[in-house]
Symmetry: C2
Subunit: 223 residues, 2 copies
Amino acid sequence: MMLRLISKLPDNYTNLREFMQKKRSRIQIINQQKVLDAGTEIFAKYGFRGGTIDQIAELAGMSKPNLLYYFKSKKDIYLAVLEQTLNKWMQNLMEWQVTGTPEEIISNYIDKKFEFSRDHADGSRVFANEILEGAPILKTLLGEDLKRLVGEKTRVIKGWVKEGLIKPIDPIHLIFMIWAVTQHYADFSAQIETLTGKTLDDDKFYKQAKKTATQIILDGVLK
Amino acid sequence: MMLRLISKLPDNYTNLREFMQKKRSRIQIINQQKVLDAGTEIFAKYGFRGGTIDQIAELAGMSKPNLLYYFKSKKDIYLAVLEQTLNKWMQNLMEWQVTGTPEEIISNYIDKKFEFSRDHADGSRVFANEILEGAPILKTLLGEDLKRLVGEKTRVIKGWVKEGLIKPIDPIHLIFMIWAVTQHYADFSAQIETLTGKTLDDDKFYKQAKKTATQIILDGVLK
DNA sequence: AATATTTTTTATCACATGGTAAAATTTTTT
DNA sequence: AAAAAATTTTACCATGTGATAAAAAATATT
């Protein structure tokens, strides 16, 4: 299931649609990806308002007009970055197992979230920046697709509570807790690195962080 | 204990020092506070790079040159906002009780952090933005004052583990977990509001969030 | 009330930033 | 190899943004 953020935007929002849908040449594929990668890195640090086309162009190793040949505006770059990021983020949530014990399902989801924080730290930060700005672009999408998905998950957890499989906790806050903890390692990595000298790229640190978080949450939730 | 971020900056960084230290007139006190408040709100949303003096001036209800009469540059406003915010943030950590059971101390700290997220949501977001940008200004301070403070706390928690008062968990990750969860409600309030229709300003929601987080963490940590 | 001081406004400025047009170059197709 | 199509570069431009100078207005001091 793809989110197709771009196709859900109002018509006046962007011409990105046709731009991305056309069959793309070899060079286009390479360079659009370069821009997307650079854009992700810049928007992760500075957000939409704070990031500049010049920064992205330099990081992508091309001139500004050349970059604008691939994406016709800053907003188009941002939308493409957001779409890519959000798809990965939602993918993660959608991979939430449907069978298994609460322990298996929760620890597996925490696993996946930690993986995401390590492997897509910039994506996580792009997302964080978008939310900090008030989620101007994502608001609608979050209120539809994500809300539905989260609704499904809370119902599952509520079921566990009713069946007495886990302690009586509020499902939505458990989900927020998992998001908070896992994303913290990506979004606040600058602080974490300053305090510990480590990031999730350090495998020992990664395992220790995951182990501690998983242990506390499971022990806090399981009976 | 005040952090005095500004006085710790290299000389070439700012003239804010003398500016803030002079005895201030009635109007100065009022207007500097107006700017600080507006600056906090703008930088919370857009970060340092993304926020503009014009936005701050408009929100503060004064002209741009007038604003620049009170703070001589955008960076000066940002530094003052950061100092104010960071002082509050560290205050919170310093209020960590020194006596009591692990249960009391941890739940009390979570309490204080939730209070902060509710009462200083914009400050929390300013802080988040600074970290996302790579903590260019705060890095040194975090590596000194905060590191020392955190070191104290981890030693306390390690003591609890040794004495068998709590489960064997890694103290630093417990602290990160508490920060993550509590700050998430401030930093991601846009997402939370979209999903639940509520924010921490809703007292019932506030209590439920705090209760769930506290319960899971305590149950996850206490023996 | 007159004077000194502080605050606000008006008028600018230089540089940054998003974006465009058109020529030059490179790549692909025939 | 020539023609067509795609890509890159060069040269701009309008607006946004941080910042300043100096005059005008308001406030405080004598």
